[in-house]
């Protein structure tokens, strides 16, 4: 039975928007889950909004998919899942920018670089973690100029 446009409309939550992506095709995104970057990722000035797509239920791996650039999707993982000893100092300025007033609002994701066909050689970028305030849906990449953080930290 053909679905009338009205029915389709009703099925979607009022907040859903359609987003084109290279990897996942057209996806429906709840606009309340969109994460806004307070500063763009170096190299990707066009992308100011992202959505987190879990690889699958219960998986540690997630995609950070750009809403502006269909091709752009980083593989990310929660930092404490990978390396519990990793506790970069988040400057007050960044906390303010992300409207973080309690430590528990702060989430740290690491971007993974995975060489094609050689997943065991994947590295995590400890020098440029992604700091997220998931409640306020604000994020930015923190660049750690001081300290000895490896941008290509071998996961294995």
């Amino acid at each position: 039975m053909a679905t009338s446009p009205e029915t389709r409309e009703k099925r979607n939550s009022a907040n859903d928007i359609a987003v084109q992506t290279s990897r996942f095709g057209e996806i429906k995104v709840d606009s309340e889950l969109i994460i806004r970057m307070t500063a763009p990722f170096p190299g990707f000035p066009e992308s100011s909004r992202f959505i987190i797509i879990p690889h699958k239920k219960g998986s540690a791996f997630m995609w950070l998919q750009s809403l502006e650039n269909p091709d752009l999707a980083f593989v990310v993982i929660q930092a404490d899942h990978l390396n519990p000893d990793y506790t970069p100092d988040v400057p007050d300025l960044i906390k303010k920018e992300l409207e973080i007033d309690q430590e528990n609002q702060l989430e740290i994701l690491l971007i993974l670089t995975i060489p094609p066909g050689r997943p065991k050689e994947m590295t995590a970028n400890l020098m440029g973690p992604v700091i997220i305030n998931s409640g306020r849906r604000l994020a930015r990449q923190l660049i750690l100029d001081r300290g000895d953080f490896d941008p290509c930290w071998p996961v294995f």
């Binding site: 170096p42 752009l72 980083f74 593989v75 971007i111 995975i114 970028n125 660049i143 294995f156």
Partner: protein
């Protein structure tokens, strides 16, 4: 590009609220003193570029399927 010559102790002012002072210059190295509002991010260029390049690499190389990664990470967790 604007090119200016400065001596030790001299400074530049950008936008009323950013000052860059030449503190010392010797053996081919220049020591700078920077004063800027707290919301101005100051990074060494090579650090910024390093992050930019790693971001590009991560974006280009990300695989289509993460199932293999899932397995490898499980193995690692078991080893730990």
């Amino acid at each position: 590009m604007l090119i200016l010559s400065r001596k030790e102790g001299e400074a530049l002012i950008i936008n009323d609220n950013i000052s860059i002072k030449i503190l010392e210059s010797k053996n081919g190295q220049v020591k700078l003193g920077l004063e800027a509002p707290a919301d101005v991010e100051i990074l060494r260029e090579e650090v910024y570029r390093r992050i930019l390049e790693e971001n590009k690499k991560a974006a280009q190389e990300s695989p289509d399927d993460l199932s293999a990664l899932e397995e490898i990470l499980k193995e690692k967790k078991t080893e730990d």
